[in-house]
Amino acid sequence: MQITINGEERSLTTQTMLQLLQSLEIDPRRVAVELNMEILPKAAYEATTLADGDRIEIVHFVGGG
């Protein structure tokens, strides 16, 4: 399936949000995730299966003033 993550199109096999984060070596505790413009709570990462056409934003804290 085709998924857009942080503006980049990627081809992925069916998986959950948690599996995606793990495959990207992202610590789920350190990020916030938006799935199709809605915040996906951390508690839902394991239970949410991604679908073709999903748009995902994965953000974290960086240095700033």
Binding site: I5, N6, G7, E8, L24, E25, I26, D27, R30, V31, A32, V33, E34, I39, P41, K42, E57, I58, V59, H60, F61, V62, G63, G64, G65
Partner: protein
């Protein structure tokens, strides 16, 4: 003395009245040393996309969350919608309700877009955020932000990163008379005396990033700012002498040899 003079924001107490940003340092190690030297307890962070190719790096690897309270900002947001979205993401990432709300109007001045700021503040306060808004040094705006339910107001001293200091101390004084929430000068501080001046006016705190990170020796400047904020606060509480046009001698007139 500082034990009884805590900064209170939304019911939470802080000893340090200096808040520092985590941007623009030469390295994470320098940032850590500067934050330590500053004595800050509240530090700002930005919310940005994870770099998918280098996702192992994280600012939080360098920040001791037991020591610091994170204040996520909405830097780079030019609309209420963007700022609201960023705050919701920040809360989800950090599990804290504190946000520094910035809605910018223009890239050159980075002055706030006050109409959009009010829109965003209304929504965010309703959603239970503790909103600390970056705004102009306008008492009327500050009163509106207080009325909406913001936990503090953060009028700029001068444009972000300009180092021009407190451009309008009279407005800042009027703001202090106008609102009951903490007044924290945010933006424009260039050197230690700027921070001291803000505190001497009666401000409850000062927030800065470039003033420290952009200095030739950020760690030394962080220490200077730490001292300046404490000195300014002490001077304010000590009650300065009035300004007079003419002199009043400090030594007695009697007893001079003739």
């Amino acid at each position: 003395m500082s034990q009884n003079d805590k900064l209170v924001i939304a019911g939470r107490e802080f000893t340090s009245r200096l808040m520092v940003g985590t941007g623009k340092y030469a390295s994470n190690e320098q940032m850590v040393r500067a934050l330590e030297a500053s004595g800050a307890e509240i530090i700002t962070v930005a919310v940005r996309r994870v770099n998918l190719d280098r996702s192992k790096e994280s600012l939080l690897d360098f920040i001791d969350l037991k020591k610091y309270t994170l204040l996520p900002n909405t830097a780079g947001c030019y609309s209420a919608d963007d700022a609201i979205r960023t705050c919701r993401l920040a809360r989800e990432a950090g599990m804290s309700d504190f946000v520094k709300l910035e809605v910018l109007g223009d890239e050159k001045t980075l002055f706030p877009e006050n109409e959009e700021l009010l829109k965003a503040a209304k929504v965010l306060v309703k959603e239970g955020f503790t909103v600390l808004p970056y705004t102009s040094d306008d008492p009327i705006m500050c009163k509106k932000l207080e009325d909406i339910g913001c936990a503090a107001v953060m009028p700029l001293g001068a444009p972000i990163g300009s180092g021009l200091g407190i451009r309008n101390p009279y407005n800042i004084r009027i703001i202090l008379d106008t609102v009951k929430v903490p007044v924290i000068v945010d933006a424009g501080v260039g050197t230690a005396s700027d921070a001291a001046i803000a505190m001497e006016l009666g401000c409850h705190g000062v927030l800065m990033n470039t003033g420290i990170a952009g200095a030739k020796d950020p760690v030394a400047m962080a220490e200077a700012m730490n001292l300046a904020v404490r000195a300014g606060r002490l001077a304010y509480r000590a009650g300065r002498i009035p300004k007079k046009l003419y002199a009043t001698a400090s030594s007695p007139i009697e007893g001079l040899v003739e």
